[in-house]
């Protein structure tokens, strides 16, 4: 369940520049991972949006979808840049979701888990993620193919889960936003 109390928000990073292309890709993929971990992830995103005070920016599922369609890997892509206020809202929602899903993220990352249980957890997550990626992403894009296939795909999926674990909670916002603003996009 979603926690009813909105966490205190730390100050945003200094830059209000829009996210680069690769930053939007990673943000949307992390939101997709959150949906793969939580079957009610889409509804939880909307509830969190309201609880965090972003109902003006993201009042419904369509508006959320329109913002996420700035990801160039999607089947339906919107041109232009994602406004800084919108990307900040999505990052805050993601950080709060990561906080909520932290026990699951931690279980995936822990080396102390028995191998067979860890493998089953990863298989379950990867099956759901692959389903969501096939449903929403353009399979002809190299980035989508790399995410789903081979050792490079497994490394990318683990990297996404690790980034989500380290971005969980109040302290994660500035860390994740700075990462999404990296050069070389």
């Amino acid at each position: 369940m979603v926690s009813p109390s909105a966490p205190p928000q730390p100050p945003a990073t200094a830059t209000d520049a829009p996210l680069p292309r690769r930053g939007i890709e990673r943000l949307d993929l992390m939101l997709l991972c959150a949906e793969a971990l939580d079957l009610n992830g889409a509804e939880a995103t909307l509830i969190l949006s309201e609880q965090l005070g972003f109902q003006d920016l993201i009042p419904n599922r369509v508006e959320l979808w329109k913002r996420r369609c700035h990801n160039p890997l999607r089947r339906q892509v919107r041109r232009g840049t994602l406004a800084a206020a919108d990307s900040d809202a999505l990052i805050r929602i993601l950080c709060t979701q990561c906080e909520r899903l932290y026990p699951l993220l931690r279980a995936l990352l822990s080396a102390a888990e028995p191998d067979d249980i860890a493998r089953q957890r990863w298989e379950l997550f990867e099956d759901r993620l692959a389903g969501l990626v096939h449903e929403r992403m353009n399979p002809r894009r190299g980035g989508v193919q790399r995410l789903l296939e081979g050792a490079e795909g497994a490394r990318q999926r683990r990297q996404l889960i690790l980034a989500m674990a380290l971005a969980a909670g109040n302290g994660g916002f500035a860390r994740l936003k700075a990462s999404l603003m990296d050069a070389g996009a």
Binding site: T15, A163, G169, G171
Partner: protein, 202 residues
């Protein structure tokens, strides 16, 4: 007057003790002076230290976590060289803690991703706690520059553009060398016989 802040995660517990700094008007449950701290890790020795050691731990671990979010983890050291953190050879993360007491060997701790996340979370909880009325000297999170994240792009893709440019330059140079230069015009009265003249007079 003595205050204790405690932050728990699954694999660790951070406990910070201190006092409000009454010289600056602090009171109540605020903590303006750190007198000591301890970090308990499941299955590992407990760490204890002064404020400087805690700040050094944060100076190494939090920027390292920032790099890991970008997938660019590399070795980092705190400002005073008390704490090192780096990716471990066999996976995980190696934390090296140097004691300020002479003759004490550095302590090596290898953490997996989950334990590192727990550590980052307790440090985040501490630095963002409203009861901590102390300015911590920590670097801001900043975006990485291009060369710091160049490893993300596969080498073949990274080298494709420069290789294509070099190839295009070589081809255009070769083509320009093979292009025939115009012959110099023959001097007047030489090279053409009467029969060879164009439009001979009838």
């Amino acid at each position: 007057m003595k205050q204790t802040l405690r932050f728990d995660q699954i694999s660790c517990r951070l406990q910070v003790e201190g006092l409000p700094d009454v010289s600056t008007g602090q009171s109540g449950d605020g903590l303006g002076i750190i007198t000591g701290w301890s970090l308990q890790w499941a299955g590992r020795p407990e760490l204890e230290g002064k404020k400087e050691h805690l700040v050094a731990l944060m100076q190494a671990v939090l920027p390292y976590a920032r790099l890991l979010v970008s997938g660019a983890g590399r070795a980092l050291t705190s400002q005073g060289q008390e704490v090192d953190i780096a990716p471990a050879a066999g996976g995980g993360h190696q934390l090296l803690l140097r004691s300020s007491q002479p003759g004490t060997e550095p302590l090596r701790v290898v953490l997996d991703d989950a334990e590192l996340s727990d550590l980052v979370r307790v440090l985040d909880q501490l630095r963002l706690d409203s009861r901590l009325l102390l300015k911590l000297d920590l670097p801001d999170d900043r975006p990485l520059r291009g060369r710091e994240v160049s490893h993300r792009i596969p080498r073949r893709q990274r080298l494709a553009a420069p290789a294509a440019a070099v190839l295009a330059l070589a081809l255009s140079t070769a083509a320009s060398l093979l292009w025939p230069t115009p012959r110099p015009p023959a001097p007047a009265g030489q090279g053409l016989t009467q029969a060879g003249k164009l439009n001979p007079p009838r």
